[in-house]
Amino acid sequence: MKPERGYSTIVIVITFLADPSRKQYLLNGLQEEWIIERKDSHEQRCTVLDTYDYTLLRQKKIALLCNGNYSFFDLLDASKDVSRSVTSSVLENDKQPKEIVKNRGGWKVNRRTQADVNEEFFLVRNTDRKGVARLFLLLINIDTPPLHIMRLQISPLRGYDEEAVNLSTLFERILTGDKMRFPWDRKREIRPRMTDTAGIRIFCSDVLSRVRSFERGIVRDTDPECLHQYRVNVRKIRALLGLSKSIFPRDWLQALTDELSSIMKRTNRLRDLDVHIDAMEGYRQLLPDALKAGAVLLEELLKHERQKEQGKVAAFLASEKYLGRMRQLEKNLDKPPENEENDDTGKPLQATVLHILERRFNKMVKKITEVEAEAEDLSFHQIRIEGKKLRYALEFLEVFSDLKQVKKIIKKMKRFQDLFGEYNDLCVQEEFLHIHMDGIENDDNLKAKRRDIEMAVGGILTIISKKKAEVRELMLKETVSVRDKNLKKNISKMVKEGMDEISRSV
């Protein structure tokens, strides 16, 4: 409950996540003490704006676009309530909510998913049947991740502030035990001193919740980013478990990573198609006019194929078999493996992660030192994989540690990561096109269009090849900064400080 100062009166706003079917239960609870009169209601389908990584929602904020109007809600801070609906006060010239505009430097906000927004207005009367407060109930049912946000706004009629506070107290009482957890909220706090296996398990379990939050978006095909985020998070769990193989029982770990790999495999082709379709527009613009028609045909072909592949992935994710496997994964991560030690006897999480980090960094530097300008793509791919593992470990460390250098190192490695990622995408696209052309050659239905498509593919491969050369050069330059002594010094310093911190706490 948070009273908001307004014109000579207060407005109380309560926001929470809840199963939408509980709405009636809430209203019934209120009716035991008050008379609730429904005045009006509206329902509309809105677009949720957010970054690819749901930065806003993770910060418990929501930006909605309903019928051309923006609204922006801070779900935790009622004082940032934007208005009953949406007003120009939250908009700037480019029609983006101010908060988003403010953060544009780091974020790319886009139309992310859909939400059903239901507004209901009530008048609350006391036992004299006198109106004492207006109640505005906002239900936002977001498709992906599946979140059900209820927002109650109690606006007392002038002179009835006390009644409104009593009303909100009753709400809070009815709500007890009814609130739901945000998919990104941790089930348990992760502390540097806790046993390493427990810390890693809890983190992986949280990440798995995020994985699951993207399922509906993939099934409904809301946005290709849903699949991307789904895969990024599965990979994160797999990488972290892989990095800590020495501390978990072998069979336990193997069962988990095998299952995750198997699930990833089912989505590989769809992701490749998404990446390629996304890149097609850029390629089409770079191609000479004579090849553009073929590029359009290729794109249509890819889209058609994507549609089929999306159907397969959606059917897989909606299947009982998949859901059962996911439930089993959740159970395995939530339940400690045999012989897991308690926080007093086990090895501290921070020590284990720092140890892993140092080892990984040295391994990566070794690989970078070995790589030559003419090296195979595979060598660069391996460096990229090492870099990714290092980054996941750093991001994990950032979750529970206060060590100053973590952020700095992550920042320092960002460009390196971006370049290696871009290079890898180009390699994947190149390989994909080669394989795809083989498929076209064997398809009799495409005979007539084959020549145009082949020419376009040839043109695109030339573009990719040129780009690869450019990026490779930049990558090689960037490896110097990773081999830089200062970075190594920073990591060693961080490891030392982290270890000292743990020793002191013991």
Partner: protein, 248 residues
Amino acid sequence: MKSVALYSIKGGVGKTTMAVNMAYFESAAGARTLLIDLDPQGSSGFYLRIRPKPKSRGKDFFRGSDKMHTMIRESDYQNLDVIPAPESVRKIDMHIADANEKQVQIQKMLDLFIGEYDRVIIDCPSQLGLMSENIFIAADAIVVPLIPTVLSLNTLQQLEQFIKRRQYNLDKFYAFFSMVDQRKRMHRETVDNAENLPIKIFQNWIPYASVIEKMGMHMTPAQFYAKNEKAVRMIEQLLQEMKEYGVL
């Protein structure tokens, strides 16, 4: 801001009924309206289901803006706020008597609402004392309901003499006939021969009708539950006439 007081020395003449319906009429037309109940019976608040706040006191009327504003309660009707009468409003004359500028206490109170409200309707108690004199100075118009009986007309004359004696402005006093029972010859004749009254009297009048008395049962303005009843339409015609005369 225009302020109108419903006033009569005599009780039970329909002041509160008119005050509530007048306030509703004005607010429904879009005017930001405040109904102030100065009658310790608290009937205006009762008709609108509004009780005074437990801690509000009669002296709060004269304790500045903050105190005054905390007494305001929003009604269930758009644009209509009410200051219901706490029981201790009966001591209001005493508080005025203690004040330095005894004649302008109500004027000062009304000044607090300039800019906030377009209309202030005051439901006055039946008395002729310090508070009444304050009202005579402060209100833009004083409307007196009259039952067409000898006694009622007699009190109107008493009022006229008092106003003249104290040199208040008689031009802002208006009257209308209320609770007219057309079955009674005396009522009919009094209404028909009203031109000799000492203050301006409206042509429209309010009949004695059970539909109006039922306000107490419905606890809403009569226009809200019986808009199409003849008696209620007559109230509206009277209010319309008041508007034409610039009272509202």
